[in-house]
Amino acid sequence: MDIDHHDITVSVNGKQYRRRVESRMLLSDFLRHDLALAGTHVGCEHGVCGACTILLDGQPIRSCLMLAVQANHHELSTVEGLTNPAGEYHPLQQAMHDHHGLQCGYCTPGILMTMTAFLDENACPSEDEVREALSGNLCRCTGYQSIVDAVLAAAMRMRS
């Protein structure tokens, strides 16, 4: 079969990129290999672990379950875009640091993208709501408690 190529334009963290991609290129691989945005991590590559979570038009999705060509003319956000222009951490990044919400850090970008989008919609979440929102992201180091603590602390800080 001839290689099936498509020209796409995507916006990632506010920056426009034009690239030619093979149709079978996963969005996760496109971000990492073509755009060199390797902050998006790839774990299971079949939609179970949540490490590759990014935002598609503001909503968390698994980038390993979408083709790069499908992202044409869409807006993506990745962990590289979480700091402010001065390079300061997002409140959730700071809270993850303060509360030891990570050990190896492999799942962290996916968790940050899932939970920053969650906090944008739910400024005052209960612990149960945080755990429900976190349920699509696997972490094998922390046992989750410290991540939940970090999200609740970040929510409080973002409210004040």
Binding site: D4, E22, R24, L26, G47, G50, L56, V69, Q70, G136
Partner: protein, 291 residues
């Protein structure tokens, strides 16, 4: 890049998509949310040579009222159902089940039509469609037909869709007065496929006797299982605790779960009985309370 090579075509209209499918048949697959198809392609269990992306087709997504029923476009995402307060009020059974369906990231992409067409017997929506008495509008390039939910699901991951057809719309009849429903499932982790799950709908008359009882299961067979006949004895009678226990026993005798490394067939049967009792009691209470 994990999937095998394929040609990608973004269909511009439903007619365009159906013409392509008619031309390529089983070699082509429709790509909706991709939350089941892309994983199987990543594993190379599925190797379609053509992928017809239907995400850009106007009018395939959305919820609309039709006489005595609600129609859901096949491309409607779980998220849209979950965020539609009027829909959740009209179909509390679906509202109760949605949090059990995978995780937020999957619900943001996954579509109703994609889920039903994938026909995973452990999936929640097929059983719910059977319990609700849903009808599916199935379209090909030159004709369309309506299929009753139980006839749509032929086997595990197998539907009655022909190679040139697409499920385009799901019609749900509105609930009668004094109807209560309940969805319950047991999964190893929240969001996983169920070891067993049940969707129950009960309609009571003014004397609290059952007019109709609908009972469907996911995870305990090759297709969603319609077990409503296990509750035949309830119709015309009050749903007493003893009568409900009898229904649970009938369900256990009726189903033939396959068992797996995570749950033996006996355990699945046990769970199905327990869920029947709990969900029936809850649905009856809700019918009496008027919601």
């Amino acid at each position: 890049m994990k999937p095998a090579p394929f040609k990608y075509i973004a269909a511009s209209s439903l007619g365009d998509a159906l013409a392509l499918k008619a031309e390529h048949g089983d070699d082509a697959k429709f790509l909706a949310g991709g939350q089941s198809l892309i994983p199987t392609m990543n594993f190379r269990l599925a190797r379609p040579t053509i992928l017809i992306d239907i995400n850009k087709i106007d009018g395939l997504a959305g919820i609309r009222a039709s006489s005595g029923a609600t129609r859901i476009g096949a491309l409607t995402r779980y998220r849209a159902l979950q965020r539609d307060a009027a829909f959740a009020m009209a179909f509390p059974l679906i509202g109760e089940a949605l949090p059990h369906i995978a995780h937020p990231q999957i619900r943001n992409r996954g579509t109703i039509g994609g889920n039903l067409s994938h026909a995973d017997p452990a999936s929640e929506l097929p059983a719910i469609a059977v319990a609700l008495g849903a009808r599916f509008r199935v379209q090909a390039a030159k004709q369309e037909r309506w299929v009753e939910a139980p006839d749509f699901f032929v086997g595990a991951l197998t539907t009655g869709l022909k190679p040139d057809e697409m499920l385009v719309e799901i019609e749900l009849p509105l609930a009668k007065p004094r109807t209560g429903s309940c969805f319950m499932e047991i999964a190893r982790r929240r969001g996983d496929f169920a070891i067993a799950g049940t969707a129950v709908i009960v309609t009571l008359d003014e004397r609290d006797e059952c007019i109709e009882v609908r009972l469907a299961f996911c995870g305990v067979g090759e297709t969603p299982i319609d077990a409503s006949s296990a509750a035949d004895a309830l119709v015309g009678n009050k749903p007493t605790e003893t009568a409900i226990i009898d229904v649970a026993k009938s369900v256990q005798a009726m189903i033939d779960p396959g068992g797996s490394v995570h749950a033996t067939a006996d355990y699945q049967r046990h769970i199905a009985g327990v869920l029947t009792e709990r969900a029936l009691q809850t649905a009856c209470q809700r019918a009496r309370d008027g919601h």
